[in-house]
Amino acid sequence: MSDAIKKFQKYNKPFASLKLAVFVILAMGAMSAWGTIVESIYQDAKRAQETVYHSWWSYTIFVLLTINLTAVIIDRYPWKKKHAGFISAHIGIIILIAGSILTRYWGIDGSMAMGIQETKKTISVGETDLVVYSGLMAGGMKKVYENEVKFLKSPPSKDNPYKISVGGDEIVIDDFRPYAIPQSKILKSEKKTDGPALRFQIANQRVSESDWLFLGRDSFDTKNMGPAKIVLGKKGLYKWTGGNVLLLETDGESEALNYTVYTASKNGKTSSGKVKAGDSLETGWMGLTFRILKFLGNAREEWSYEPLESKAEGAIQAIRFQFNGNEYWTGLNSSVRLFSNDAFHVLVFANRQLNMDFALKLDEFRVGRYQGTRRAASYESDVSVLDPKGQPKKVTISMNEPLYYNGFTFYQSSFQEDEMGRPTMSILSVNRDPGRPWKYLGSLLIVFGIIHLFYFRGRKAKS
C-alpha cells in the first residue's frame, strides 16, 4: 500500500469513527420520531416532510452518515474477502441515499383526478406556486410572475409578508392558514352586472333540502338533488336533454321567474308558469314541493376560510393578501381577479401542473363491493392512452396493476363517489422515479451484506 493512501487513511480515521456512527444512527432515529409526531399532530404527511424529513438539519444528518460510511469503507482498504459483507452493507446504504437524491430532484410524484369520459394531460404535484398574469384592460394577458412557495415551512405573516411586485402594483401576502375549510356566502351585490341568486327548498313528507342557486357571471347554475336537477339560467339558453329537471329562467329584470318542469317518465314538459320568492309549486315527482325562499336580483359570492388545527377532509391552504387598499382571502387551486387603476391582474395560488406529451382518457370506472355492503373490495379504471406519436391504446388500471408508459407509472389510488354511491372520479397517482434501480440495488446489497456479516461473525465466534 502506498504511503499516500496510508497518510490519507490517517486523516480519514476520525470520520470513520464508530462513535460517530452510533451518534448518527441515534440522530436519524430521533429525527424520524419527531417527524412522525409532527405528522400525527397535524394529520399532515406533507407538513412532516417539509419541516422535518426534508429540513436542513435532517439533510445534515444524512450528509454526516454518507461521510461516515464512505470513510469507514476507505479505512478498511486494502479490502479482503472477509470484508465483503461489511462493505456490501455499507456501500448499499450510500447507493440507497444516492437513489433517493435522484428521486427527490429528478423524480415526479403527483396525481391525476379524472371524471368519467374526461381527457387529461396534466399531472398535479405537491409543490405550490404563486403565478400572476397581467394585462391592460384592452390587450391580452401575460405571465409576469411565477415562483414556488413553501408556506407550510415558512408561513407569511404581518411581520414577515411575502410581496409580489407587478408593474406599479404590489400584492402583499400577510397571513396563511395551512388547514382551512372554504365556505361561501351569497350576499346582495350593488353591481348591476352581477347576476341573480336564489335560495330554494325542495321537500316532501320524508325529506327536506334547501340550497342556493347562484348565477354570477355564468349562464347556468345546476344543483343535483338526487332524482332531479334544479337549473337556474338566462332566458332561452337551456335545452332539456332528459331526466327530471326544474328549469328557472331569469330575464335579468323582473323578480318573477319563468319555470318549466320536465319529467323523465313523461318524456318532456309537464308544467310551466311564473314563480317568485315565497311561492311554492308542485313538481309532480314523488310528492316533492318546490319553494323559493329568497331571491336576489344581483348577488355576489363571498368566500371565507374557517381555520382548523389540523388537516381534515375538505380543508385546504388559504392565504390573505392586500392589494390596492383591499383585503382578500383565497384558497389553494383558485384564482382571484384584481383591478387597479390602470391594470388588471389574475393571482393564481395552486399546485404545480406538469404537462405530459400524451393524454389519458378515462373511459370507464368500476367498483367491486364486498357482498351485501357498500365497502369497496376493488376498483379499476379503463383508460385510453392518446399519444400523438403512437397508436391509441386501451388499458385497465387496477390496484396493484399500474400502467407503465413513457417513463411514467400510473397507479389506481382512490376514487370519489356521490351520495348514491356512484363513482364520479377516479384518482390516479402518477410517478416517475429515476432513482428506482439504484434503490433496488442498494437494498439488495444491504440485505446481502448484513446476512453475510452476521454469518461470518457467527463462524468467527465459534472457531
Binding site: L18, K19, A21, V22, I25, L26, M28, G29, S32, A33, G35, T36, I37, E39, S40, Q43, A45, A48, Q49, Y53, S100, T103, D109, I181, S310, A312, E313, G314, A315, R369, Y370, Q371, G372, T373, R375, A376, A377, S378, Y379, M399, N400, P402, T409, Y411, S413, S429, V430, N431, D433, G435, R436, K439, Y440, S443, I446, V447, I450, I451, F454, G458
Partner: protein, 540 residues
C-alpha cells in the same frame, strides 16, 4: 379430547361429516362475507356485551333469544360502556359497566353525541378515545336493534340474480320466514329461561333446519354454502385454538420452572411436551384462519399478536434445541403466554373478528411477505426482550455468582437481535418494494414504516455500540429491553397512539394505559439495575 380429534378428522375427511347444516353452521351474511351462525352470535355478543357469554349462557343461546323474543332484553343491562367521559356525558354512574338498551336508546343526549361524531367522521378527523367510544356505542346499538328488528341476512339471492345482497328476516316471504322461525323455536326448546316459552312448537330441530336449508339451496343454488363449506369456521369457533394455546404455554412455563427445583427429568420432558403441543395447536389455529379468510392472517393487530407469539416460540424452540438450554424454552413459553393472553383477553381492542381485506391489502404477494417478515423480526426482538428481563433479574440477584449465566443470556439475546435486524431490514425494504409496486413510492415516510425504521436504528445503535465497547453483557440485556419499546411503538403505538398515515386500515383504540404501564415499568426496572451496576459494588 375425543370430540376434538373427531372434529379434526372431519376437517380432513369431509366425507365423514354430516351432510346437513347444524344450528351453529347456518349461513348468515354479515360485514361483507357469509359466516356461520355461531360466529355471528359470538362476534355480536362480544361487541355488545364485551364477553363471549352472558350470565354463563353461551352466545348462541343469547343471540337466539334476541331474535325470538327481543322485548325482555330491552330492560337487561347488556350494553357495555367503558369510557368514563362517555358515561359522564350520558349522566351515567361511573362505576356501572352495563346498561340497558332502553335507557341508552331513549336517552335525550344520544342524538347530540351521534351528530357530533358525524361531523368529525365526515371531515375524516382523527377520533380521540371519547369519540371512538361514541362510535362503538353507535355500532353496539345499531347491531342490537338491527338483530331485534330482523335485519340479519339469512336467505341468499336467487341463483340468477345479479345482486350479492342476501335477504334479511324482515324481507323474507311468509313461507321462508315461517321455516326460519321453526328452527329458532325448535332450538330454543333446548334451553329454558330468558322468557322463551318452552312448550311452544315442539318441532325436531334437524327437520326444521333441513326444511329451511332445502328452500334456501333451491332458491340460491351455490350462493348458499353447504355445511361442509361452513365446517372449518364452525370448528374454529368451537375449538377456540388460541385459548387452549395459551393455557398450554402457561402449563409448559410452570412445568419448566418447577423442573429447576424438583424432578428435573420428568418435569422437563412434560414441559417440552406441553410446549410442542401448544405450538402444534397454535399452528393449527393459524391454518384454520388461513382457510377461512383465504389470506395470511397478519392484517390486523390481533392477528399480528398471534403471529408474533408463534414466531417467539419458533425462535425459542430453535435456540433451545441448538444451544441445548432449557431456560430459552422457558423464556419463550412465558413470552408466548403473554402474547396469547393479550390476544385472548383484549378482543375489544384487538378485534379478533374475521374480516374481509381492505382493497389495498388484497391479493398482494408483497404485502404478505413484507408484513410477515417485519412482524417475525418483532418476534425475535420480543424473545430478546424476555431474555433481557431474565438476565437483568439474575444481575440484580447476584451478578458475580451468575456471571456465566449472564454471559450466556447476553449471547443469546445478541443472536436474537441479529436475526431480528436481518428480518427487520429485509422487511422494511420489502415494504418499500410493496409501496413502490402499489403506490409508486419506495419510501414515503409513512409513520408505520418510519417507526419500523426507528426500531431498526435502535438495534443498530446497540450492535455498533457493542463494537466500541460501550455495550457489554449488561448493556446487551438492558438494550434488548429498552429497544423493544421502539418495537412496541412501531407495532402498537403508531396505530393506537399516533393514528396517522397510509396504514390507517389497521387503526384501533384502547389499552394505551396498560401498554405505557408495561413499557414504563420495564424502563424503571432497567434504570434501577443500571443504577445498581454503577453505584453498588458487586456482592461477591
Amino acid at each position: 379430547m375425543i370430540k376434538k380429534s373427531l372434529f379434526t378428522l372431519m376437517l380432513f375427511f369431509p366425507a365423514l361429516a354430516f351432510a346437513g347444516h347444524s344450528y351453529e353452521s347456518l349461513p348468515i351474511q354479515e360485514s361483507g362475507r357469509v359466516k356461520p351462525m355461531i360466529t355471528v352470535a359470538q362476534e355480536t355478543l362480544q361487541l355488545i356485551h364485551g364477553k363471549s357469554k352472558y350470565e354463563g349462557k353461551p352466545a348462541l343461546d343469547i343471540f337466539t333469544t334476541w331474535l325470538l323474543v327481543p322485548e325482555p332484553w330491552m330492560k337487561k343491562p347488556i350494553i357495555k360502556i367503558d369510557h368514563h367521559g362517555l358515561k359522564k356525558a350520558l349522566n351515567f354512574p361511573k362505576e356501572k359497566k352495563y346498561f340497558t338498551p332502553d335507557e341508552i336508546g331513549s336517552h335525550q343526549r344520544l342524538n347530540v353525541l351521534f351528530s357530533d361524531l358525524q361531523v368529525r367522521t365526515q371531515r375524516k378527523e382523527k377520533l380521540n378515545a371519547y369519540y371512538q367510544s361514541i362510535q362503538r356505542l353507535e355500532s353496539q346499538l345499531l347491531t342490537f336493534y338491527g338483530i331485534t328488528q330482523g335485519a340479519i341476512r339469512v336467505f341468499p339471492p336467487g341463483k340468477d340474480e345479479e345482486t350479492t345482497s342476501w335477504k334479511s328476516l324482515g324481507q323474507l316471504e311468509k313461507s321462508e320466514s315461517e321455516a326460519f322461525f321453526k328452527i329458532m323455536a325448535a332450538y330454543s326448546t333446548q334451553f329454558v329461561g330468558n322468557g322463551v316459552d318452552k312448550a311452544e312448537g315442539k318441532v325436531d330441530l334437524n327437520d326444521a333446519i333441513a326444511g329451511f336449508t332445502k328452500m334456501a339451496r333451491e332458491h340460491g343454488g351455490n350462493k348458499y354454502p353447504t355445511a361442509d363449506e361452513m365446517s372449518t369456521e364452525v370448528q374454529y369457533q368451537k375449538l377456540k385454538p388460541f385459548f387452549w394455546t395459551w393455557i398450554l404455554y402457561f402449563l409448559s412455563a410452570l412445568l419448566l420452572t418447577f423442573s429447576f427445583l424438583v424432578l428435573p427429568k420428568p418435569l422437563t420432558l412434560a414441559g417440552a411436551l406441553a410446549f410442542a403441543t401448544a405450538f402444534g395447536l397454535h399452528t393449527y389455529g393459524f391454518i384454520l384462519r388461513v382457510i377461512i379468510t383465504g389470506r395470511p392472517p397478519v392484517s390486523n393487530m390481533y392477528e399480528t399478536v398471534v403471529w408474533v407469539g408463534w414466531g417467539v416460540v419458533l425462535f425459542a424452540g430453535l435456540f433451545g434445541y441448538l444451544k441445548k438450554k432449557k431456560w430459552i424454552v422457558l423464556v419463550g413459553s412465558i413470552v408466548a403466554t403473554v402474547c396469547m393472553i393479550v390476544a385472548d383477553f383484549a378482543p375489544v381492542i384487538l378485534d379478533s373478528t374475521l374480516q374481509p381485506l381492505e382493497p389495498v391489502l388484497r391479493s398482494n404477494l408483497w404485502l404478505l411477505i413484507h408484513v410477515m417478515t417485519i412482524t417475525l423480526s418483532y418476534a425475535a426482538f420480543f424473545l430478546a426482550f424476555g431474555i433481557g428481563d431474565y438476565g437483568v433479574f439474575l444481575y440484580l440477584k447476584n451478578r458475580a455468582a451468575y456471571k456465566k449465566e449472564i454471559r450466556e443470556l447476553a449471547q443469546v439475546a445478541y443472536n436474537c437481535i441479529q436475526i431480528g435486524v436481518v428480518l427487520l431490514t429485509a422487511g422494511t425494504i420489502l415494504g418499500g418494494v410493496w409501496a413502490d409496486y402499489s403506490w409508486g413510492r419506495f419510501w414515503g415516510w409513512d409513520p408505520k414504516e418510519t417507526w419500523a425504521f426507528i426500531a431498526l436504528m435502535g438495534y443498530l445503535a446497540i450492535l455498533h455500540a457493542r463494537l466500541v465497547g460501550w455495550v457489554k453483557d449488561f448493556g446487551m440485556l438492558a438494550g434488548s429491553i429498552v429497544s423493544f419499546s421502539l418495537v412496541i411503538m412501531a407495532w402498537y403505538g403508531v396505530n393506537f397512539v399516533l393514528g396517522a398515515g397510509l396504514h390507517s386500515y389497521g387503526f384501533g383504540a384502547g389499552g394505551i394505559e396498560y401498554v405505557s404501564g408495561f413499557v414504563g415499568l420495564h424502563l424503571l426496572y432497567v434504570g434501577y439495575a443500571w443504577f445498581v451496576e454503577h453505584y453498588q459494588p458487586s456482592k461477591a
